[in-house]
């Protein structure tokens, strides 16, 4: 840190008085996890401001060549601060940091610079990371919280999976969304409890499955379209111009690999690093334990989906990561890294032959793991359509939609 930009420490007193603002990437996941923080004495608010103002704020305060997600997340923060809805002297901002070689690790620094530029340099910024970057006395992501969050992520992935498999076929439009909302509420309550037994979690999985299965729906016969890409534009409707809704309106079923895959990918990189470079032995051992734990949890969920419903479960991660063989090394770990390639292959294996690969304009890892891998993937899987869509503040929706429509036209011809 230089004298140019000051880092404001988040103290324990602040924990009591301050509201922590969190940008939204995945509404259901984040709501569920948010309640864990609230239960642990933090006051948090999930930002829901969208629209053009967010983009404009981003353009004003962030270098315009920075990746689109940074521009949107920072734009969302500053737009919220400007809105007057919060006392700027009583808020802190939370942002994630992976610590990887991608520029995404610098979102936090960019946010701090933007705040200084906008006159909010007194606002503390919190880093949510697992790499030991920046620490704050008033903000701790404790082990019990992490365990709960793991369940939260899996619940989110389950709701997302079911919603996508139901919404394109439901007899009464909106039924699935309403059920998602209801379950999100219930799960928020569950996360606020002091302790949640794993037995209870598994029981809840079954209840959710039954509820979704009960929704009246037509035969599952639409073109399935997978979405992969840079994590923010892949998941966030703000980032991808409501891509999921668009695909559904075009009579497709959306297939979206879950958030747990990304976490598992981050963990697995710790193991690979040691294997490739002989560094970080201790960290690798820890990663191995966590990996085993998470994979087991994911497999439990998959088994429960299979046993209790006709829905297609997600692909187990220990299988997903083997799919990269012959395509890309597991050492390619910046940004979404090899996971991006693996997810395309995972979708193809599930019989999803149409894939939208989303990325911010000029995304560096995507040059290699996305666009760079399309040729071999298509050569080995002749019937597959992959369309790369770039997102940035200047890209128009019509261009993006035109290209997706082209892919759908091809897909419908094959159906």
């Amino acid at each position: 840190m230089s004298a140019r930009v000051e880092r404001v420490i988040f103290t324990e007193e602040m924990k009591r008085e301050y509201t922590i603002l969190i940008p939204t990437m995945l509404p259901m996941h984040f709501k569920i996890i948010q309640s864990i923080f609230n239960h642990n004495g933090y006051k948090t608010v999930l930002l829901e401001n969208m629209g053009d103002e967010v983009k404009q704020c981003g353009l004003r305060y962030v270098h315009n060549d920075t990746c689109y997600p940074a521009l949107l997340v920072i734009g969302q923060f500053i737009d919220a601060l400007n809105s007057g809805a919060y006392d700027p002297h009583k808020v802190a901002l939370l942002i994630t940091q992976t610590g990887g070689g991608c520029r995404a690790s610098n979102y936090l620094s960019l946010l701090r610079k933007a705040l200084a530029k906008a006159g909010y340099d007194y606002i503390p910024v919190l880093s949510l990371n697992f790499s030991g970057l920046e620490k704050n006395p008033g903000f701790k992501f404790t082990l019990p919280m992490i365990f709960k969050a793991v369940n939260g992520v899996l619940f989110g992935d389950l709701l997302m999976l079911l919603h996508n498999q139901v919404r394109s076929y439901e007899k009464v439009p909106g039924t699935s969304q309403a059920l998602c909302d209801a379950w999100t509420k219930k799960l928020e309550g569950m996360m606020a409890q002091k302790r949640v037994s794993y037995k209870k979690v598994k029981k809840t999985y079954v209840e959710i499955l039954k509820d979704f299965d009960a929704i009246e729906r037509g035969p599952r016969n639409k073109v399935r379209v997978g979405i992969v890409g840079e994590i923010f534009v892949k998941f966030s409707p703000l980032g991808n111009n409501h891509l999921e809704d668009f695909l559904v309106s075009e009579n497709a079923e959306v297939v979206l690999p879950g958030l747990m895959d990304f976490l598992l990918y981050c963990v697995y990189n710790g193991i690979v690093d040691h294997k490739l470079y002989g560094t970080g032995k201790l960290y690798a051992t820890a990663c191995r334990v966590i990996d085993k734990y998470l994979v087991k949890k994911q497999k439990d969920l998959i088994r429960i989906i299979r046993e209790n419903s006709s829905f297609s479960p997600m692909t187990p991660f220990d299988h997903t990561r083997t799919l990269t063989k012959g395509y890309i090394g597991l050492g390619a770990k910046m940004g979404e890294g090899w996971l991006l390639t693996a997810e395309m292959l995972e979708l193809i294996e599930q019989g999803v032959n149409n894939i939208v690969c989303t990325q911010p304009f000029g995304c560096l890892p995507n040059h290699i793991m996305g666009k760079g891998m399309m040729k071999p993937i298509k050569e080995n899987h002749p019937g597959v359509n992959i369309v790369a869509i770039d997102y940035d503040p200047g890209a128009t929706k019509i261009n993006q939609e035109n290209r997706i429509k082209l892919m759908l036209a091809n897909a419908n011809r094959e159906v």
Partner: protein, 1004 residues
């Protein structure tokens, strides 16, 4: 057109089948009756999409004697189809229908439209590709270029057939290409050659941008408007793709293919319409108002407009009738990128004569005419006592007419603005192609900002756009003043704006709203992209706006609205450069002006000739201008060798870029020396520009022969261009493909470029990553380059920071991949030797850096850290900017030749990349040494530099140092770079003359 559809596409005879294709600029409609195309049309719709369609359908009244089946296609057709509830078919899909049924043995279709470019593969895995968000060069681009040269499309086409040579023109996007063409025009290159070069650039762009790793071969069909009209473009494609006559198909229906495809699609849809029903739907569509977010109008009411006009009428200029004046006068010439301006100024600074005109690609002729005119006016009463020229064409005009002084544009504009408003603290100049703005503090230029190459062309963009909609620019901008609901077109580059306009047109926006929207975009672009101001207070109190673009009232008003207060626009806004030059000529008055005499002017001649310079490896394409009396001026050269000067090497200033290049040249190796050894090839690009000595030593110790691919050049780039899958990657990465091809051609046994997540740990930063592209580009190469499949390509993931790990890893690689076993001891010895060689290599560069700094200090030269990445020293990447800097009198050092390894830099970002950490270190070094300046080289598309540039600037500004940034890409025009470096020099000289002015300074 008389096209009888073959049996393979029999349509139902119960219907008339219509195919409607509405593109970004034209509407195409075909009507099919009884298996025959009975009507077809191709016409511009001037963004009146709905009216035009209605008009054409009405023409068909006589033909339509039964129910109609129709489908709409095209980028601007979607909205219409939705409103009318008529089937819509995606245009590429429609093309596919046509080809599949009319020419089923086609392998590839290349289709260029107004703003789209498409490549469709039919054989070997069908695939359809359209241009993405960053790919301009298509029909609209060709139009724009023709306008720029003052030719019609047909004339340009015809001229191109007589070309003698092809100039390299950037093929990434229209704006870049334009900045290559402009200087060529200004330097007097022949129009025939430029026309052909433009076509070649379009071809390059299509192949590089869309084929993305797939070769275009077999039977290729060419579709779309531009490809059906332009013979020159057709030839360029056939030549580039090396197609035989049978394999290149230019069908008669080229421009109607989408419309025919739409008709074929319509036949399969179970929807039909009566003529009346169809007309009713279309009429209804023309009346539908689309609700869309829009910007507030420029003026709420008439009174506001009147007040605005009155206020700006006050900033008029004093004119003197030359017939009544006798005495000394000063001539200022501003030879800009698109326009030429002249001002003749009296001793009291009143204006005797002014001229503002598009230079129509031949500024020399225009200046000659004007000088003749001015001498006539002067008669015996007025003596031209001094003359100065500024602008892109400065050197050319100076040589042609013996103008007394040349000055850089920034200084000319400041001189003029200061005269108009001595209190001026902010100047914004938007010209045809450049945006310049400077802050003034204490009566001196405080910071200069120029637009990056990607957002240039804003001024001329509005003009070209007006023309494309069939309006004069004045008329077009006046429309904007009365717009009720200006469309929001965003603020990125003009290519993006094109598609935003398309979208607005689709939604039925009026010309007024588009005009106002464009003005606002130009302004937002300037404020947020170039100036990067976060609020209006950032700009200043007394703002002077100038440049031809501000003569457009809509732009002026938009600017005032956006920044929220009033500004001064001199009535001679378009002439400020010339006026500034005239003022400069007066200040620097000589005893006698050397300007060409009236007599000599009468005999003045000017011819141009194109040649390639062979004085060094740059192989610059030169234009030799010969003037009357045999005097020559050479343009296009990157160094003084090309200018025909003898270079005394011993007197050359230190240049670490050149020094490093010499080092790499010395280790290039040759296949001739290989003997019995196995040869490993190192592609000299990206990270290899630093680690080559490391790997070379290791492999040689192991008994291999090692060569590098040598330096990059244009030809090498073209060789690998076909296999680039992501056209928005940085140029240094894209060059990698050519280096790989070169090594394959040389016949090496294996190619080595490892995957390195982590670079050398120099222990001054939080981490030591490589950027994702440097780290993993091999993964991409191995899967996208078919040609390297026969050569062993080694790209293991390695840890280069540990001798032990690296040795073990390399042993494994050679065993698994090549079947060669090395003992652990042998490998460790090689790695240790490699590290020693690398350490000595880097130390040598630093010693040379110290020598350079010491030399400069002893001899009073300024020192420039030309800082970027190691690979920026490649002649094809750096474009000779280092030589330009030494020519301007700087001793040039690199970011790795300065010893910045003493302590970690004090930064506000996560300092986690090895190469980038050096930049921060250099910035701090520059801050602590008054004679050292930092100029940062940034590759277009480098994601990480969005972070480093702001940080480097912050470090420098805090200590009152100038920050200069140069963005580089395929672009080879050094004109803009020269302006930046000369402005830097100018600003430094100002500081030297008035040391009290050392405040924060900046040249972007």
């Amino acid at each position: 057109m008389n096209l009888k559809l073959p049996e393979s596409c029999k349509l139902s005879n119960e219907y008339i089948t219509l195919g409607v294709d509405i593109g970004s600029t034209t509407a195409k409609i075909v009507a099919i009756k009884d298996g025959e195309v009975v009507y077809d049309t191709y016409e511009r719709h001037f963004s009146q999409v709905r009216q035009k369609t209605l008009e054409i359908v009405r023409r068909l009244e006589g033909i339509i004697d039964r129910p109609v089946r129709l489908a709409i296609s095209g980028s601007a057709g979607l909205g219409l189809a939705r409103v009318c509830d008529i089937p819509f078919v995606q245009e590429v899909f429609a093309t596919g229908e046509t080809v599949r049924r009319l020419e089923p043995d086609t392998s590839v279709v290349i289709e260029l439209g107004g703003e789209d470019a498409k490549v469709i593969f039919f054989k070997g895995g069908a695939d359809e590709r359209m241009n993405g968000t960053c790919a301009g060069g298509t029909g609209a681009f060709i139009d724009q270029m023709a306008t720029l040269m003052n030719l019609t499309d047909d004339e340009m086409d015809e001229l191109s057939l007589q070309h003698k040579r092809i100039y390299p023109i950037a093929s990434r996007c229209g704006v870049f290409a334009k900045s290559d063409i402009q200087p060529l025009l200004n330097q007097g290159a022949s129009k025939a050659d430029i026309a052909a070069s433009i076509y070649a650039a379009v071809v390059n762009q299509t192949i590089a941008g869309l084929a993305q790793g797939r070769r275009i071969e077999g039977k290729v069909m060419f579709l779309g408007g531009p490809l059906s009209f332009n013979k020159g473009l057709q030839n360029a494609f056939v030549e580039a793709l090396k197609l035989s006559e049978e394999d290149a198909v230019f069908p008669e229906y080229a421009r109607l293919a989408v419309a025919i495809g739409a008709a074929l699609y319509a036949d399969g849809q179970n929807v039909s319409f009566t003529y009346d029903d169809l007309i009713a739907r279309l009429e209804n569509a023309t009346n539908v108002k689309v609700e869309k977010a829009h910007l507030p109008p420029l003026f709420e009411n008439e009174a506001e407009l009147v007040a605005f006009r009155e206020r700006h009428a006050k900033a008029s200029s004093r004119k003197i009738d030359p017939a009544t004046y006798a005495g000394d006068a000063y001539l200022g010439i501003d030879c800009g990128s698109t326009t030429t301006k002249l001002v003749l100024m009296a001793e009291d600074c009143g204006i005797l004569y002014e001229y503002y005109h598009s230079n129509q690609g031949n500024p020399v002729e225009i200046v000659r005419e004007q000088l003749a005119e001015i001498y006539d006016l002067c008669g015996d009463r007025i003596r031209i006592a001094g003359s100065a020229v500024t602008g892109y064409g400065e050197e050319l005009i100076r040589h042609a007419f013996h103008v007394d002084h040349g000055l850089v544009e920034t200084i000319a504009h400041f001189t003029a603005a200061k005269y108009y408003d001595p209190k001026v603290d902010f100047i914004l100049d938007i010209g045809g192609q450049d945006i310049k703005c400077f802050k003034i503090r204490g009566g001196a230029i405080d910071s200069i900002m120029l637009n990056e190459a990607c957002s240039s062309g804003c001024g001329s963009f509005v003009e070209t756009f007006a023309k494309s909609m069939n309006y004069e620019i004045g008329e077009f901008s006046n429309f904007g003043l009365t717009a009720k609901a200006p469309v929001d077109l965003g603020s990125r580059c003009t290519v993006f704006m094109n598609s935003s306009v398309k979208e607005a047109q689709k939604d039925g926006a009026s010309v007024e709203d588009i005009s106002a929207g464009l003005s606002m975009s130009v302004v937002k672009n300037a404020i947020y992209k170039v100036i990067r101001a976060s609020s209006a207070e950032d700009l200043g109190e007394n703002i002077v706006v100038q440049g031809g673009t501000f003569l457009n009232d809509a732009v002026l008003r938009s600017f005032e609205l956006e920044i929220g207060h009033n500004v001064t626009r001199p009535a001679i806004a378009g002439l400020m450069g010339a006026y500034g030059a005239a003022l400069f000529a007066k200040q620097q008055k000589k005893a006698e002006s050397e300007l060409i005499s009236p007599e000599a002017l009468q005999k003045f001649t000017h011819t141009t000739k194109a040649v390639t310079c062979h004085a060094c490896t740059n192989h610059c394409r030169l234009t030799i201008n010969t003037f009357s009396g045999g005097e020559k001026y050479i343009s296009g050269n990157k160094c003084e060798k090309g200018a025909g000067l003898k270079v005394d090497e011993s007197r050359a200033l230190p240049n670490l870029h050149a020094y490093k290049r010499d080092k790499f040249a010395a280790i290039a190796g040759s296949m001739e020396d290989k003997g019995e050894r196995i040869t490993i090839g190192l592609p000299l690009a990206l990270g290899m520009y630093e680690l080559a000595p490391f790997w070379k030593t290791i492999f040689e110790k192991l008994g291999f022969h090692v060569i590098t691919s040598g330096f990059g050049n244009r030809r090498l780039y073209a060789k690998g261009q076909y296999s680039i899958p992501s056209d928005t990657a940085c140029y240094p990465a894209k060059l990698m493909h050519g280096h790989m091809e070169t090594l394959v051609e040389k016949g090496v046994d294996a190619i080595f470029y490892p995957c390195l997540s982590y670079n050398m740990d120099e222990k001054v930063a939080d981490n030591h990553y490589n950027c994702p592209v440097v780290a993993y580009y091999s993964e991409l190469l191995s899967h996208n380059m078919d040609s390297i499949k026969t050569t062993k390509f080694l790209y293991p993931y390695l840890n280069i920071n540990s001798d032990k790990e690296l040795s073990a890893e390399l042993c494994e690689v050679f065993k698994d991949e090549m079947g060669i076993e090395f003992s652990k001891k042998q490998m460790t010895a090689a790695v240790v030797a490699g590290r020693a060689a690398y350490t000595e290599w880097m130390a040598d560069i630093r010693r040379e850096g110290e020598r350079a700094v010491a030399f400069a200090r002893e001899n009073g030269y300024k020192i420039m850290i030309l800082a970027g990445r190691p690979y920026h020293i490649d002649p094809e990447v750096g474009h000779g900017i280092d030589k330009l800097a030494t020519n301007l009198g700087f001793a040039v050092v690199t970011e790795d030749s300065i010893d910045t390894l003493l302590k970690p830099a004090d930064v506000d970002v996560l300092n986690q990349w090895t190469y980038h950490a050096r930049l921060y270190g250099c910035a701090e070094y520059a801050c602590s040494h008054p004679d050292v300046n930092l100029v940062q080289l940034v590759s277009f598309g480098c994601g990480l530099d969005a972070i480093t540039t702001d940080e480097v600037r912050a470090i420098l500004e805090e200590k009152g140092k100038l920050y200069t940034q140069i963005k580089i890409d395929e672009i080879t025009n050094l004109g803009a770079v020269t302006i930046r470096l000369r402005s830097l020099l100018g600003a430094l000289e100002q500081v030297e003359q008035r040391p009290e002015l050392t405040t924060s300074k900046e040249v972007i």
